[in-house]
Amino acid sequence: MKGRIRRSLVRIYAMAAKEGRHIVRDPRTLYMSLGMPVLLLFLFGYGVAFDIDRIPLAVVDQDRTESSRALVHALTASRELVSVGELPDPAAVLGAFRQERAVAALVVDEGYERALLAREVVPVQLLVDGADALVANQLLAKADALVRAESQRLASAEVGETTPPVRVKVWTRYNPDGRSAFYMVPGLAAYLLAITAVLLTALTIAGEWERGSMEQLFASPIGRLEIVLGKLLPYLGLGLLEFLLVVAFGMIAFDLPMRGSGFALALLGLVFLLGMLGQGLLVSVIAKNQTVATQAGTMSSLLPSLLLSGMIFPIENMPVVLQHFSRVIPARYLVHGLRGVLLKGNGLDVLWPDLLALAVFALVVIGLATARFQRRLA
């Protein structure tokens, strides 16, 4: 028995060492696993920033008084909204939206100051270009808060200090500035790991079929599980390196905090990678050729990881059917777990459901891959 295990380990090692050589000799594999993720992270991290910043605001000031100028100043003082100039009348606003010179427009009617002094309720119009719903939503929230602050200031200037009956003291923990990179980077890390890990392994078994080496392997005493494990090991190492690189890059380039333990982080990455590599193996066992394996691998990892992981779209907002479906997407658990470890400093006591879900997924796909892997050429 002991001899059998030893022989088995030698064969797994043979496979892993051989696979390692393939990786080192194929620059595409290295680029795909190490270069591409960093490149994508860089592009995504800066490009997919949802933070509201320097939004062009057109102003239609028909009042032209000190008060109206004060309102415009209140809106643009923080530089989140930037005035791009005055327009003569409200009809010109739509033209500015179409030419994309402005995304929002403030219309102050004539008589603003007069009405203020007469203590009447003054309507001020904010026009928003809703074509980009994300920007529009954030803009509305921002503008609303700014206008409310301004009207509070006016009110207290008028009546002296007022005490509102309820005062909410908001204390935002973990990401007080609401920086999108903080929640995007863990999501991106999951997404990038998912596609590269699935693709990396999807190519390997399909490659053995295509190169004809499967015939020689099947004629030898190496077992199916030995082939599968031997192929997993080097890619697992590569995947962990990629994981480390992505997280480190997030910390350096986006000031991503790392509040949890390195152990929890590594464990999360390891179990997730096992599942993703197993999924790649399953794809390549079924596909038997590299082109089909690449497509099936990409489709089965890219779309679900992007759309259903909660990386961009909150799972709570999805239709119920998709919410249930997202439970079998490993990226969901990694995104959730990573945000916990990095931002909140969660330990294993909180992480274990995510880890368990990932472990179950890994066991199921590796089991399926081995079972579907027929030791037959035809």
Binding site: A17, F218, G223
Partner: protein, 316 residues
């Protein structure tokens, strides 16, 4: 070479069984019948040649004996065990027809990989690899990548990889396909050496002239065995006669031959035509060829004549 590694007690019981046994093997791939009740046996220490045209089912037969394909019917046994039995894999070597090693690995790395798959101790590997590299004269190319080897060198490397674990049975699928004549001769010399050392070798080839180098041959066509025996005995038992047709206008002579039922096979041999004719039918054929200015000259029948006439007979 040592060709009898130590075997366990359990295996010894099966020692009386033939090295290879194919019994009624059949397998269809869609509309194509690759094996159609193929039956033959190879005794231990025998060099058996599976000869036949492309598409006869030779590769499928070898894969069946290596336990690599599912059979629709029949039974393939190796050393008394089922062909896909795990215990058999340690004792059988396979050299597939297609490229089956790792192109981006060097000669040495390919050898090392297979030695690990067979869990050979390091010293054993070193000793055997050294000897195999010497026999195959691949020594100077140890660091060359497999995809940079010539056709003949690649085949020798594949052979070396299949021999590392010193198998009792060696299966070779068209080992000389795409190999230059010198390497081809060397390869056959090696096979004879192995058999001399006690190994059982089953080799497939589409080249009829190579059949004569085997101890026994089986002629395969359409998934079945047409003919089997030792080459001299097969030729001695040949019922038909072989002739060379000399002179005459080629087109008209060929048309006449095609019309004549007693002509079993005709193939060009340089300027002339070599034909196989049913025994006793030659004088009549000579008379019908005379007006075309062609004459018949008897030649000693060889394997190609024998096989061509049997395959033609079968296909008709």
């Amino acid at each position: 070479m040592e060709l009898h590694p130590e075997r366990g007690e359990a295996v010894r019981e099966a020692d009386a069984a033939p090295a290879l046994s194919a019994r009624g093997l059949s397998r269809r791939f869609g509309a194509v019948t690759a094996l159609d009740g193929l039956t033959f046996e190879v005794a231990r220490g025998e060099l058996y040649g599976l000869v036949g045209p492309d598409g006869a089912g030779k590769t499928t037969a070898i894969r069946a004996l290596a336990g690599l394909i599912r059979l629709d019917g029949g039974e393939a046994r190796v050393l008394g065990l089922a062909a896909d039995d795990h215990a058999v894999r340690e004792r059988v070597g396979l050299m597939p027809q297609q490229f089956s090693l790792y192109r981006d690995l060097s000669v040495g790395e390919n050898l090392r990989f297979f030695s690990r798959v067979f869990v050979l101790p390091r010293e054993v590997y070193r000793r055997r690899a050294e000897r195999l590299l010497e026999i195959t004269r691949l020594g100077p190319f140890l660091d060359r990548r497999a995809d940079a080897l010539s056709g003949g060198m690649y085949k020798k490397l594949a052979l070396a990889c299949a021999l590392l674990h010193e198998p009792e049975v060696l299966l070779l699928d068209e080992p000389t396909n795409g190999v230059d004549p010198v390497s081809r001769r060397e390869l056959w010399a090696l096979l004879h050496e192995f058999v001399h050392g006690g190994m059982t070798v089953l080799v497939s080839t589409p080249y009829m002239d190579e059949a004569e180098r085997c101890g026994r041959v089986g002629l395969m066509n359409r998934g079945r065995l047409l003919l089997e025996g030792a080459p001299p005995a097969l030729i001695a038992g040949f019922r038909d006669e072989a002739y060379e047709v000399r002179g005459g206008e080629r087109d008209r002579v060929e048309a006449e031959l095609a019309r004549t039922a007693s002509v079993r096979a005709a193939s060009p041999a340089g300027e002339r035509l070599r034909i196989v004719v049913a025994r006793g039918a030659a004088p009549e054929l000579a008379r019908s060829l005379a007006p075309l200015g062609a004459t018949l000259a008897p030649v000693t029948p060889d394997f190609e004549d024998l096989f061509l006439s049997r395959i033609r007979e079968e296909d008709a």
